[in-house]
Symmetry: D2
Subunit: 430 residues, 4 copies
């Protein structure tokens, strides 16, 4: 991933250096487990930890000759060891190390990502409370529908975030599976017991059954979860982009001090962060495509998934982490223009109350079909002549036979649409 | 979906007729709930159930005029009703019906799919037991690696199927959420209490918060789960395609009595079902792409997701259902050629035991680096001259100083690679 | 594809019946070519045309036994033939028929699609001319940028459509390649000369080299072209959805007489067609994913692509055809609100002229940096206080030292932004 | 893109430094054009070239304050200029620079990629000639079909490569379009004439009409072309992976001196490069998904495409460049085992000649249906009993009534299948 979108601590997790350190971590955990079972002299793992040398430059140098990264790593790590080198990587196959270390990396990534999700949840909760009773127009098809509360919009993002948190917790469980089961998964040279203890040292669990590697549906599922979370952020970002349009102007992403909107049009306040987030959501769904293709490998494994994962696993996790980080800040500083919400509300001639009129007419004994026709006709008149719908309703002779002026006024009361907000919030303990 | 791939009962779930019946089901559930709360006279829902007319042709006729499917449905349903028609769809918005009915459909689909997954699980279990100790060569990179058990391969599919079952159960929970919360999700004209009771009648649960519709991350997640399950089947199908190659011929999909392999080459037994399954796995991942894009809708909903869902939700669920059905039959009738497995095993000059030799040499005191070089050199010799590796090892003067002939023989014992099979199976209670 | 989105004549091209008729067409063309080369008695192809029976029900009946569609077709077609049956399918392999017939189908599809593209081009041209000088606000990031002409927007769609037409013409060339080259593409039982003549009869060309089938990059490329065209339509549809928002209301898709926007909100005029088109663009890009995966088949062909193509080739071509048809009608009846364009234009306090002010200040000798700061400061003032930018500029003492009132007035003339419109149009011969 | 897959000169094209240099290139070209039209004093562009400072660190420093990369670039570039700074970026909008510079970068990338495609074409040509008459078994469904020439396989890759070359040449034309047409594409502050001259200086052409940016269908189309080319390579790599399986062993990717196949199994020669290439083909199709989504931007542009392009345009072009480079070397050093091809050929009991027998029987007067049944029956016998098919044919009493032993021998002559190879090659002028 490019520097611009690589944030700490994820950036460091994906450095070459960290990768080799994780490899070493796994090698050491395996040896420690062997010690526990008497298959290596006590203290071997300590000696190895002390004497192993991880030198990225040196490893790449060796790899350029042997064309095999784990062999290069082993050679480098053991070069300055004494006799303990004999136990290094003993009975292991490359994938025992690489794939277990990958699980370590993914688990750490996902845990950091989960923390960011909780932070996003927290700011969404705050905003949902802050705007709980702020009236705004609800829109469907982009068109004014019925009044609602601005807080409810945010509550909907909160709820989606909570679903994504629930999914991410499942993902963390899944990526915590690893394997030290040999070249084809049958524990040819190392026992299931040693695997269990070794993985335990690392905070991981053994796959119930593996091939040479951890099954790839797990990684695909993780990429899907990232893309779902990304799409949830896209939903928020898209809303703000809409609300920030000058014709609407109901909300705005925060504008940094000193920030310039355009080199040519100094007045512009562009929702560039939200636009960027929308683009990044696309990236995340792109990555999922390869995730699915990586599942059906040949026999006990082919290595075609590896090039994809070298690039896409860091890229996808860095992308979602960046998105979560920026979205949290953005929501936290969100500029909300409550006055403008009211203005926009009023701009559609009170037509948003038409459903209430319709229902009242049905209650008054008019058939649904006739009531609908009548309301539609008057609504069209209001819309085309840009005249207040309430006045038109009051002026209609047919309707005035059924409804008093007072009854009509009541129908146009916006607070009516807020009366269930409390009940909805209570589902969130809010 | 084309007829060819549409199997009952899913096919019927997705018929136009069933769709309208589900709509009616939801309308009735809503009215029944209103009765419970005294908002409609008792018996209204019964009257409506009796008098409502669902006539697909008639509905489409009306739709061609009004260009709105729910309005057409309501008109048709109520045409032959009496006064109870006043309560039909009362206080509801189209999406209350359409989206809740969609949840009903998806829940039923997924339940039927889950049953098929259990059936697949069962046949995999049987086969895993049947071939628990069948020796075969494990392959990585398509190349002989180390001996393993054929049952272990199947156990790995079983395990993946179980993960996918676990995921599908989560999906069923998710798609069971529905909404009768009005045009923008704020319960403008119907109360959360009525929604709860109505959905309860249908075996569904209210979304914690909705917009005009149920949030679309749920549907995207379902498509992902289908694609994961499809990729799991692809993994099985791909393996059988490989094993059915005449050079390998270790297993074969069942060949129907009377079936012809090719119009030109009568001897051919082609793995056409497995090939078809691989293609269908591609289809399933295609569908996920749109699933993600359907999440970020405008404001309280735009309807851009609808065209996609009209096509992809039936198509994707029918596809995975077809795949599961056919895979189960295929696995059940799988032809396994144990003799050929042994033959192939022997065809690589016993080189598959090289790792054991390597480890033994290290144990005998040779450094890992030197042991590796030695084994590699002799392995190359065996491979290039097509001569048995065991013989070469025995003939090597350096090695024979370290290892007795007996010790060498022991290293080439295939049963060695099976010794942990029981332990792996025991994790599955098998 | 569902009935709803299947339009004639594409629907008929993809019927089962048409498929078998195309198969027969290819068989006959091959026999006719054999006659030309003396490999079949003259008149055989005529006899076959007369006596061959295509009966979909019967074919499916046979297929249910033999599990091979071409064998079933041959059996059915020849059942009522005399001796000429001996020449039917002689020397051919199934794929010679199926794949050549597929090329026929795709060529016909693409030709019909191309005609629709020309129709779309024509209505876009008309609209571009009609609104050539209609001033509207150009928007970037969703925010007012600089004035432009509404015609220019449409010209940009026209231009994209023309690029897509150019691409589609290339696609038609590509899908016109077919093959009658036998089981593995080496003309084992039929000569390249006969292939050439046979394909000539069908308006097709021989692949330069084939395997058992026509190479699948061609089909993938076609799916890509559909998706590009679909995305071009999405761009148009997305713009109209934006312009139809009540806060903007600059344009609207046509509203059918009798059409109802919402079952609950009779005043709503929703851009449902444009929304549907946006959804369908997603479907088209979904299909491309499998197209790419279908390219790398095993050896001289595996049949994994077939299930995908049975579904996706009809579905994708029907989808783009539907989209083109509907978009053309929609553009043709597009409602454009020129008054509202002017109103919106004026709503941003003349800030859209800020760039001109900036440039004039630089011309007057102020440094870019200082001019920018000054303009930005005054623009912010205008924006925040919702006051006309022109007035603020005139009131600024620093600026008035550099620019006369007349000069300032000139800077705020919208026609300035139209002065190059003619030149742009002239590139299109318009 | 990670270092591992980033090859020169593409790596350098995508460096941050190069990007800013291209920006400067565009700025200078614009000023030079202004000079030509008398809108800037002669020599200004030369002065600017001399005095402009590109300092990546400084630019990023400024950007961290202003949050706008072009403004940061301008500030840095002009800091050490004299009065000529007034003409720098004059009348331009950021996108004039950024998007035109992007076209420059893409054009250069694609040209370098095209050269690599020609190199691949050349090695494929060599190999196609080398193995023109090498008999090998053709396989369909992974199963032996009919004999063919190994050269024909390669010719098919050559042909696909040539199609992809043709497409890439179209892409180069498309990405050569650029724009200096102002904030919304209407040449508000710069004339079409100046644009033309400026782009001419850069080897680019003006878009017929643009918005703020070059239309994104062009970039999507480029990503598609990359993915098509990638899938073509995947087809080659997949074939070699198959042929390198020890049961087949007909070909092998070159094995580097010193390379180690596995840390555990020293005898293994794994097709790791071909596997890697297959993975990378997946990456390329992933990128296309976002390409399509980037087309439908809001109004005269929104910037959501930008984050995607920052990552995916370099990544995709580097990936295809890497793939082409490695594939060329791989094909060049391909190890082909002609002996093994013959061996495998013989391993299917001469069943691959069954189609010829079938046709001969039809010629001899037996009905197609009966001939097919007879051949299938005998073929099954041969297959099941693992006995030579030719012998079985000769022993059949019914057949021997129709065909002499000599005639039967002739049917089993492999050279028969080569007799049209010359004609196919001649289409390639080979």
């Amino acid at each position: 991933m490019i520097e611009r979108y690589s944030l700490s601590p994820l950036k460091e997790i994906w450095s070459e250096e960290s990768k080799y350190e994780r490899w070493l971590e796994v090698e050491i955990a395996a040896i420690k487990a062997m010690e526990d079972f008497g298959e290596a002299p006590e203290g071997t793992s300590e000696l190895i930890r002390k004497n192993a040398v991880i030198n990225v430059k040196r490893i790449l140098e060796i790899e350029s000759v042997v064309d095999h990264d784990v062999i290069a790593f082993i050679k480098c790590a053991t070069e300055s060891m004494g006799d303990e080198a004999r136990f290094f990587h003993k009975g292991l196959t490359s994938s025992d190390i690489v794939d277990t270390a990958l699980s370590l990396a993914l688990k750490r990534c996902c845990e950091v990502i989960l923390i960011k999700m909780y932070e996003l949840e927290a700011v969404l909760k705050n905003k949902a409370i802050e705007y709980k009773y702020t009236p705004t127009i609800g829109r469907t098809h982009g068109v004014h529908a019925e009044p609602t509360s601005f807080g409810l919009k945010i509550l909907s993002y909160l709820s989606e975030t909570q679903r994504n948190i629930r999914r991410m917790k499942e993902i963390i469980k899944e990526v915590s599976y690893a394997k030290i089961s040999g070249a084809v998964g049958n524990y040819a040279n190392i026992s299931p017991e040693i695997e269990k203890v070794a993985l335990d040292h690392l905070g991981l669990k053994p796959c119930e059954v593996s091939t040479q590697i951890v099954p790839r549906d797990i990684h695909a599922n993780m990429l899907n979860a990232f893309a779902l979370t990304g799409a949830g952020i896209e939903r928020i970002a898209l809303e703000i982009r809409h609300l920030q349009k000058p014709e609407t102007m109901e909300a705005q992403e925060p504008f940094k001090k000193g920030q310039r909107g355009s080199s040519a049009m100094p007045h512009k306040k562009n929702p560039i962060l939200c636009e960027r987030l929308c683009g990044m959501a696309r990236m995340l769904r792109s990555y999922t495509v390869s995730g699915f293709e990586n599942i059906a490998l040949w026999h006990e494994r082919d290595i075609s998934h590896s090039s994809v994962e070298r690039v896409f696993l860091p890229d996808a996790s860095l992308t979602i982490y960046y998105m979560l980080t920026k979205t949290t800040t953005m929501i936290d500083g969100l500029i909300v223009n409550e006055n403008r919400m009211l203005e926009n509300f009023n701009a559609s001639f009170n037509l948003v109350f038409s459903q209430r009129v319709l229902l009242k007419l049905i209650d008054s004994g008019i058939s649904r079909e006739n009531a609908y026709k009548k309301v539609q006709e008057l609504a069209m008149k209001s819309w085309n002549e840009r005249v207040d719908f309430k006045g038109i309703i009051k002026d209609d002779t047919e309707i005035s036979k059924k409804l008093s002026e007072e009854e009509i006024d009541e129908l146009f009361d916006p607070s009516y649409f807020m009366r269930n907000v409390d009940k909805i919030y209570s589902r969130f303990g809010m």
